[in-house]
């Protein structure tokens, strides 16, 4: 199917992309708005010799994922905000034990049971770690169904490269919308590199131990070696028109996609010099992308579908060099391009809201 454009729902595209990336094992629990992922994989995985296992709880799913991925096979789970809270104990163990796997978070609105509407309320949970101990997960945030499918493949590769859990952090809109896309090529799982640390039966070698125990050496390694290297090597973002910008708009995921269109339209209609930046890795945060912003820029506006979360990372990144403004989109639906345009048009008028 590669090379052919087809119409697919985001959740199903993510699921199919995972299979094509070599994922053969899924462990998960039903939660809206990501149910099409387990539903699709329950049918699809057995076709490719894989296993779909519906867990008794989000918590159990995280430990099934831990066990499955500890055998070295490509494994994933998917959930949504409050489900990720329940999984966070296991994700902390997985991160501590350095077991590569992929977690899809089609997030929902607010704390508690929240709401199903597509928002970006769990940015902080995804990027700062929902569980204990200061672990880090690479977090990829797509702005379209095509990008979500592409990032699924990258997610599995990055997980293996760094022996670390990797998130796809998106929202219900990416999960539920149907868009045309080209699916990634099916990889040959037999050609994936062997993992010499994995649980495969000790046969002829010393036993392998997968443990979430954190010695002083491991603590130092994780925090001051591995995570620093990931920060240095894996930042991803999209930027546009930063060179001559007077102001810069920063947004991620679905809001980033809408904001990109809004910035384009304002530039074309008014000639107002607005630059744009959309983080794709929300951890590691793309500091290099923000470093490209010229000193002459008068301010950065961050737009998010939450109460202000990524904006803290932007402030930490620019370290007071620019004023940082914030605009929330908090309706039941993602904002229209016009609504985002009216936010951006506040720039330079004194109506911007300093965060």
């Amino acid at each position: 199917m590669a090379g052919k454009r087809i119409l697919m729902k985001g959740n199903e595209a993510v699921a199919e992309a995972a299979v094509r990336a070599g994922c053969r094992y899924f462990f998960g629990y039903p939660i809206t708005p990501q149910n099409e992922i387990p539903e699709y994989l329950s049918k699809r995985l057995p076709e490719v010799g894989g296993v779909f296992l519906q867990a008794e709880s989000e918590l159990a799913a995280s430990y099934q994922l831990y066990g499955g991925a500890a055998t070295g096979k490509r494994c994933m789970t998917s959930s949504s905000s409050c489900g990720i809270s329940l999984k966070s104990e296991g994700i902390s163990y997985i991160a501590a034990a350095e077991v590569p796997c992929v977690i899809v978070d089609m997030s929902r609105r607010g704390p508690g049971i929240g709401g199903l509407q597509p928002t970006q309320s769990s940015y902080r949970q995804a990027t700062k770690g929902g569980g204990h101990g200061g672990y880090r997960c690479i977090v990829l945030s797509p702005g379209s169904v095509q990008e979500a499918a592409n990032l699924m493949v990258d997610a599995f590769d990055l997980a293996d490269k760094w022996r670390n859990p990797v998130y796809i952090y998106a929202d219900g809109l990416i999960g539920q919308v149907m868009e045309p896309l080209e699916l990634p090529e099916m990889i040959d799982v037999e050609k994936l590199p062997q993992k010499d640390w994995a649980l495969t039966g000790k046969g002829g070698r010393e036993r392998n131990i997968v443990t979430s125990g954190v010695s002083e050496e491991k603590f130092m390694y994780l925090n001051f070696d591995k995570y620093k290297k990931i920060e240095a090597e894996e930042q991803r973002w999209v930027d546009k028109d930063l060179e001559d910008a007077e102001y810069v708009v920063a947004a991620f995921g679905t809001v980033g996609r809408i904001a990109a269109t809004a910035v384009d339209r304002i530039r074309k209609a008014t000639g107002k010099k607005i630059g744009f930046i959309r983080p794709i890795t929300i951890w590691p945060f793309p500091k290099e992308g923000f470093a490209k912003i010229p000193d002459t820029v008068k301010g950065i506006m961050v737009i998010e579908a939450n109460g202000g979360q990524m904006v803290d990372d932007v402030i930490q990144t620019v370290k007071g060099k620019f004023p940082v403004y914030f605009e929330p989109t908090y309706g039941s639906l993602m904002p229209t391009t016009e609504e985002v345009m009216s936010m951006i048009e506040k720039l330079g008028t004194g109506k911007e809201v300093l965060w």
Binding site: E56, A60, Y63, Q64, T71, K73, L199, G204, R207
Partner: protein, 246 residues
């Protein structure tokens, strides 16, 4: 001279960290002997719980799970590698108190794993607090006047509960308080592993275990307590055996 008795090959040759008189050393040895006798050291994965129980003394590939979650982790290992022999080694606090849900559902799904639960009727590693299996009247650091039904609820008989589940193929409760029972325990543990290998389904062996340190008894008094008090509530025997091997 021929060596007729020694440490099992699947048991790491280091001093065990257990307290004097604790049953863990005996139970783990029985598991290691089983692995040796079945010739499965090279294809076995041990999954440890949290507590005095763990898999660190087994010379097989192993993974440390979180408190109570070993049956879920073992399910993941086994689903991804059905050719492996997978067992968990857990205590009663781990397997019955915090991990009740995981073991019940692993059993209900008929996961082809073996769960060994050492039941010493308290949270031993954390200093002897009440667990779900603490007997009525038993003094622990959180039931200092003895467990009371009205306040602390009733103990859970995990083996009997799991035997009710159709996914469970083999369920037994054994003890290691004397030589005759050690021999019986060995037979049950081995049977559980054999049935897993045969693909019969979920297998579970609860082993009554001593905890002299937290019980405030000598090793000999502890063994007597298991025989007289603990086994009186937690009846020994096979609760469920597949028909073809019964």
């Amino acid at each position: 001279m021929e060596k007729v008795f020694g440490r099992p090959k699947s048991f790491i040759d280091v001093p065990l960290s257990f307290c004097p008189g604790c049953s863990h050393g005996i139970i783990q040895r029985l598991v290691a002997e089983t692995i040796d006798e079945l010739g499965i050291q090279d294809k076995t994965v041990g999954v440890g719980g949290i507590g005095c129980s763990s898999c660190r003394f087994f010379d097989v590939d192993n993974i440390g799970s979180a408190h109570g979650r070993a049956p879920a982790t073992a399910s993941g290992v086994k689903r991804a590698r059905p050719d492996m022999v997978v067992f968990t080694y857990q205590g009663d606090g781990d397997c019955t108190t915090i991990g009740g849900n995981e073991v019940i559902h692993a059993a209900a799904r008929g996961e082809k794993i073996t769960v060994i639960m050492a039941n010493n009727t308290n949270f031993a590693m954390t200093g002897g607090q009440k667990s779900a299996t603490t007997l009525l009247g038993q003094r622990t650091t959180t039931t200092q006047d003895g467990r009371q039904a009205e306040r602390d609820g009733m103990p859970i008989r995990m083996a009997e509960m799991l035997a009710l589940l159709d996914g469970a193929a083999y369920v037994a409760r054994v003890s290691v308080h004397d030589n005759a029972n050690i021999a019986k325990a060995k037979r049950s543990i081995k049977k559980a592993f054999e049935l897993q290998i045969a693909g019969a389904g979920f297998t579970f062996v609860e082993v009554l275990s001593t905890c002299p340190t937290n019980w405030g008894l000598t090793p000999i008094e502890s063994a007597k307590r298991v025989e007289k008090e603990v086994a009186a509530y937690y009846k020994l025997g096979e609760m469920k055996v597949p028909e073809e091997v019964a």
